[in-house]
Amino acid sequence: MSERRPAPTVGQVVLGKRLQELREAARLKREEAARVLRVAPATVRRMEMAEVALKIPYVQVLLETYGVPDDEAAAFVALAEEANRPGWWQRFHDVLPDWFSMYVSLEGAATLVRSYEPHFVPGLLQTEEYARAVMEAGTVGQTGPDTIERHVSLRMARQRLLDRPDPPHLWVIMDETVLRRPVSIRGEVMGEQLDKLLEFAERDRVTLQIAEFEDGPHPGTYAPFTLFRFGEPELPDMVFTEYLTGALYLDSRGEVSAHLEVLDHMTARAASAQRTKKILRECREDF
């Protein structure tokens, strides 16, 4: 892809998959669909894979070709228009790389977010001061204070998600390291962060577990990762994993399942949610 565009929204991913199903139900090959649109087969593939935005006139012709009834086609087009609309996070485009726009979109559309955090409190649960300290520590090179402040604002804006009437279930396993290595020499930063964790641990839609040192090594020790699950049954779970200069999104059954299995093993071995609250309270007393 030569042209840069914002990362796909989850709506685009769902509709792309649906478009593919409708084509297959009509027993048409991509080449045949492309011929109707007078485009290359790759264009149809990119729409189905959500690599490009859904062009409405193309969608209308395809739905007609696939024999989709008028009312159903109209509903599909309405959803496509909605999915093409940029998300709230676009106003942070100056500090938001594409790979992370996708993350914010997934997070907002998910019904379940399960993650493993070896180093830091997850972004959705950070206090502003903690977030600032992490970003200052993680910044090497030319990043100025203004940019850091923009990142902090974005992170705080993401947290509104958990105050929605229908928030996703957030289920996090944090390594004990997160509690033991302070992000700031100022004790109150960790203290306030622990208060915030304790507060969120009381919520029904938040589950926190600590993987304690005394449990020894566990199968997740490679890197942080997050698994997203969506309300749409046809949409597979998706795994996000980050590295220094970018990120990977995995949605193949084999890769997603390997991450699910690791999360399940870790959740069984880590401290229960109940015990985790006790650990957090004890740790709070140290600050």
């Binding site: 449990d215 779970d237 059954r253 399942s257 299995e261 959740t267 069984a268 071995r269 949610a273």
Partner: protein, 273 residues
């Protein structure tokens, strides 16, 4: 199979019945080995998915029935991966103050239950890591949340077919003896809610499905009606008695499901006098 809370040994290299069941119910908390066995069994016995759904719906109807009869304490053994609506939602839907204890022997299943099953503010929802075979341990843990001197609804939905009886020399289990111990520990006025697979209604397919379960490492014991009825010995069966699962006090959805064909599962609910 111990009832301890010690660091559990977890083997996810083989299919697990709770995750096979999750796949049949359209869930996503299963791995490729589970999906493979679920598909293989479905190919041998095309009622597997309908059977799984029918068991869930039976649990809903039975729990609602006993809740409406005044039961406010529930002990569910072999809970499985959470699937909405869950037992506590049905029970607390009738009476918000209902207390529910979920018990399962699988540490992963249990953590899923802890993470996803939250009860009403008025009632309580607790989780016990215990095996159905450890009757004393399981009941002792359940008694931390339930008053066993008062009536309890004990449910084992689609569980007893994983347990052998004294004549199945290979399993070492005595399912009839186990159930007698549980029932003996319950207060008068308690209820027993059961469903399990039977060879009576579709012998060939059920025999093949059972063979596939065993080949996957899970013992499986379909039972004829006489054996299933023995579970309710000394108890008063609620109408309509022991019956194919979709026929137990069916609602509109179950009547519709019946037209898709019989599901080889018996169900029954009984009261301890």
């Amino acid at each position: 199979m111990t009832g301890s809370d010690a660091a559990p040994q977890i083997d996810t290299s083989r299919p697990h019945p709770a995750r096979v069941y999750d796949w049949w119910l359209g869930g996503k908390d299963n791995y490729p080995v589970d999906e493979e066995l679920a598909r293989r069994i479905l190919a041998l016995d095309n009622t597997a998915v309908r059977g799984a759904r029918a068991n869930r719906r039976f649990m809903h109807r039975a729990v609602r029935a006993v809740a409406e009869a005044g039961i406010r304490q529930f002990l569910d053994i072999g809970t499985g991966i959470p699937t909405e609506p869950n037992l506590h939602q049905v029970a607390q839907g009738v009476a918000p103050e209902s207390r529910v204890v979920y018990a399962d022997n699988d540490p992963i299943v249990l953590r899923h239950a802890q993470a996803l099953l939250h009860g009403s503010a008025e009632g309580s929802t607790a989780y016990v890591h215990a095996d159905v075979r450890d009757v004393d341990f399981l009941l002792a843990r359940a008694a931390e949340s339930l008053d066993l001197a008062r009536p309890v609804a004990l449910s084992l939905v689609a569980l007893t077919h994983y347990l052998g009886d004294a004549t199945d020399g290979d399993s070492g289990d005595d399912v009839h003896g186990l159930l007698q111990k549980y029932v003996a520990a319950l207060a008068p006025g308690s209820y027993l809610i059961l469903s399990q697979v039977t060879p009576d209604l579709n012998p060939e397919a059920v025999a093949k499905a059972a063979g596939a379960f065993r080949a996957g490492g899970t013992p499986f014991y379909p039972r004829p009606i006489t054996e299933f009825q023995r579970f309710f010995g000394g108890l008063e069966l609620l109408g309509p008695g022991v019956i194919p699962v979709t026929g137990w006090r069916p609602e509109a959805e179950d009547v519709a499901a019946q037209t898709e064909g019989v599901v080889p599962v018996y169900a029954g609910v009984a009261r301890k006098p």
